[in-house]
Symmetry: C2
Subunit: 192 residues, 2 copies
DNA sequence: CGATTCTTTGAAAACAGTCAATCTGTGTGG
DNA sequence: CCACACAGATTGACTGTTTTCAAAGAATCG
């Protein structure tokens, strides 16, 4: 399982074998099955999660029980609630597995230690944060300005591989549109 | 004008007088008048902007000319396009002044130099980034799940002082709702 | 095969958006 | 100081789209 991570990280960051070994030594391997929760609302998020295999979903609920998907994380992506992890405050989010998955976990403390000892990792981690910021901005703009059809098309175009693995009602939830609307859009697109 | 910045930064970060002086020495003071642009779409963003006085708006347009407000920045806040600034790529955004304003500017290079020499500033800057990330997440969740009325109420509650200074159609644009809808909501709320 | 999950579809209702007109207050220039 | 233009806000009539509710068809899995 660690093999996938090594392949990933080597491609992104220049690391010595010792660095790699250090990172590995504090990682916890975990297998999660479909529908299993890795984080619950109200809980303090304990780990930074790297997905080796499978697919996770981060979502949040409202008082009425409706679920709203914030993020999908397939293999070679990350998941966590940075706010809860950093501040050790109760999280608003749930993280669960949409497929049987294999993940690696690092505690806040261990990851901070790694960043302190491996500057290249720290700066890569910062780069990821700013990438996330940009993705978030783009999503806000899309939420403000795009029609449901545009949102749907953007999503399919941006994440073709993820799209194929997610039930439509979760895509709808991610886009902030009803399932019915998405279904209608698809129907209309078939006729072209 | 620098006085406002000093008051602000002293409250947030423990800095020596030399640090402060260094920061000041590379800052550029600028006065912008209402409606004046500080950044245009297509341009590379050159500065990190601190607002000493006044109110800025960051927005983006679609091909049809419609404007969508990403952010309002009143005094003691920051504005910039981090993506364009960091990568030196053309920006998607406009930044303009909603009121006559006084701002401080730092180039990417100078600010990086400051962060290198003043670790406390660097970590404060990182903290701001993660705060922005959290605000962005919250906004995405709200865009996905809240009704127009809830969005409006949240906005008024979160930014009462800013709200009072912004024309309603810009609030509507920020919330991703038509001016008409906001007007209706206000009307309905009056009757309670 | 039975059960669950997923997707489509229909009918009706609710809602937000567009267009356009009006009203207000502000500020500018003659 | 008045007149006029301008920016902002409200309102009405209408349109169009999305949602809700519900049911029924597919597909998948154990």
């Amino acid at each position: 399982m660690i093999a996938e991570f090594k392949r990933y990280i080597k491609e992104k960051v220049k690391l010595s074998e010792e660095d790699l070994e250090l990172i590995r030594s504090v990682a916890v391997e975990k297998i999660v099955r479909r529908k299993q929760l890795l984080l619950q609302q109200g809980e303090v998020c304990r780990y930074k999660i790297f997905i080796c295999k499978g697919l996770l979903r981060t979502y949040r609920t409202r008082e009425d029980g409706s679920e709203h998907v914030m993020m999908f994380s397939p293999e070679t992506w990350w998941a966590t609630d940075p706010e809860s992890l950093n501040n050790q405050t109760p999280s608003f989010y749930y993280i669960d597995a949409l497929e049987d998955s294999e993940v690696l976990l690092w505690t806040k403390k261990d990851f901070a230690m790694l960043c302190a000892k491996i500057p290249a990792l720290k700066s890569y981690s910062e780069k990821l944060i700013s990438t996330n910021l940009n993705i978030g901005r783009q999503r806000i703009f899309s939420a403000l300005s795009a029609t449901p059809e545009e949102k749907y098309d953007e999503f399919v175009a941006s994440y073709p591989n993820i799209f194929a693995r997610i039930p439509l009602h979760m895509v709808a939830s991610y886009l902030g549109v009803s399932l019915k609307t998405l279904s209608r859009i698809r129907q209309a697109q078939l006729k072209r």
